[in-house]
């Protein structure tokens, strides 16, 4: 056991960019996501009514896709925005899930080493990946908020004249803090889960000694479960943030207030 490293270790450099062990596995994850979904899309293209019999992986991808797509439409009542958000949010789900699952592959970790570091490391156990996803999510929320509400209304979500509405001004301030806390929470939640999961697997493997082949599969299954949950949580939060931001300015425009009302009806 080389010790548990909280950050991805550098392997070599290309054009001044340090290539870490997590990037190698990240490339594999991206290839798997694209390959899997492309395969699904190819299988679906020939199927006119969507009723033909499909393989397990195609059905799994379609099941996930359809469920997520419906969830987005439930969370964001605005159909146009929901359709725009769908590719982004669904991609988040698939990439997070796959990056998580590649982390529990047998050759990941200390099993295969390069120099003194592990050659592969789960992308999701690298803060660069989770922070990037969180930043993109928060920026995307802002972009959609500006698109739907307009830049002025979006600005007014955070900066409210303190003389006119002191409480609103304070809540606007809180809103700004909330955006940053969301960013950090998004990044840290995923990272913490993956990292803790990998540490847990290593610890169980060492503690189990000769019994570990019998015990580890249980923990692998548990990890797969957590991975699915985390991917869904990240997806759900991204969707909900967009939904909240889009709904927020509803009080100013009658068009959106109806949607806000419908949303509150759904939630109550």
């Amino acid at each position: 056991m080389h010790g548990i490293s909280i950050k991805a270790e550098p392997l070599f450099e290309i054009f001044g960019v340090t290539i870490t062990n997590s990037i190698l596995l990240g490339i594999l994850g991206i290839v798997i996501v694209i390959g899997w979904l492309a395969f699904t899309a190819h299988a679906v293209k020939k199927d006119r009514d969507g009723l033909a019999r499909k393989g397990f992986f195609t059905r799994l991808a379609l099941w996930c896709f359809e469920g997520l797509y419906k969830t987005i439409h439930d969370v964001i009542p605005n159909k146009k925005v929901a359709r725009q958000v769908a590719p982004f949010a669904i991609t988040i789900f698939f990439i997070v899930a796959i990056q998580y699952y590649t982390g529990v592959l047998p050759f990941v970790g200390e099993a295969v080493t390069w120099g003194e570091h592990a050659l592969f490391r789960s992308q999701a156990a690298d803060l660069n990946f989770t922070v990037m996803l969180a930043i993109i999510t928060i920026i995307a929320v802002q972009v959609w908020a500006i698109k739907v509400l307009g830049s002025k209304a979006n600005f007014e979500r955070y900066f409210i004249n303190p003389i006119k509405d002191p409480i609103g001004s304070f809540s606007g301030l809180l809103e700004i803090i909330a955006e940053f806390s969301r960013l950090i929470a998004l990044a840290m939640r995923l990272f913490g889960n993956v990292f803790a999961g990998e540490v847990l697997l290593i610890v169980v493997a060492y503690l189990g000694q000769y019994a570990s082949p019998a015990i580890l599969p249980l923990f692998y299954i548990f990890e797969l479960f957590i991975g699915g949950i985390q991917a869904y949580v990240f997806f759900m939060l991204a969707t909900v943030f967009v939904g909240l931001a889009v709904e927020h300015g509803g009080h100013h425009e009658p068009d959106h207030s109806a949607e806000a009302k419908r949303m509150s009806e759904i939630t109550t």
Partner: protein
């Protein structure tokens, strides 16, 4: 307390000079690389891979909705058909009843008519027969009368053996007959 703080500070500084980001392994170059990779991934998926899946889902939803609609329509139509059949049966039964009633009435009428006709014909036959009989009786009577007259004349002639004048003769005879007829 102070020990923990210094420990944390040491951990932050000992890793490298970059502070907390460095110790957590956050590198802006890799961040940019990751962002580009994710952007490309979303672009590729949204451009080539999601549309066929979405199209299939839409098609399937449409098919399901259409099927449900068709099933509803079929149910409605079958109900309508059942109602129509019931209505038609009812009218047919009514018509049949009407026809039977009419036929019954007609047959009764016909029976009555034919009875009356038969009666009338019988009466006519009877009266014709009576008339014939009367005529026959009359004829017989006339014949008898004539024969009697000639017989009487013959007898008288024989009895008298002298032929009186024919006219006188006849006058006497008819007188005798009249008297006898009385």
């Amino acid at each position: 307390m102070q020990e923990i703080l210094t420990l944390l500070a040491n951990a932050a500084t000992s890793e490298a000079s970059g502070g907390i980001f460095e110790s957590l392994g956050i590198d802006w170059k890799i961040l940019i690389l990751q962002t580009i990779a994710f952007g490309l991934l979303v672009f590729i998926l949204a451009k080539w891979i999601y549309p066929p899946i979405l199209a299939m889902l839409d098609r399937r939803d449409k098919l399901i909705n259409d099927s449900v609609k068709a099933a509803k329509e079929a149910t409605k139509r079958s109900e309508q058909a059942a109602e129509e059949i019931a209505a038609q049966l009812k009218t047919a039964r009514d018509e049949a009843n009407e026809i039977v009633d009419a036929a019954r009435e007609q047959s009764t009428q016909m029976l009555l008519d034919s009875e009356k006709d038969a009666e009338r014909r019988a009466e006519a036959m009877v009266s014709a027969a009576k008339a014939q009989l009367d005529r026959d009786v009359e004829a017989a009577r006339t014949m008898l009368r004539d024969e009697t007259a000639s017989l009487v004349a013959l007898a008288t002639e024989k009895v008298v053996s002298q032929k009186v004048d024919n006219a006188a003769d006849k006058k006497i005879i008819s007188k005798a007959i009249k008297e006898s007829a009385k």
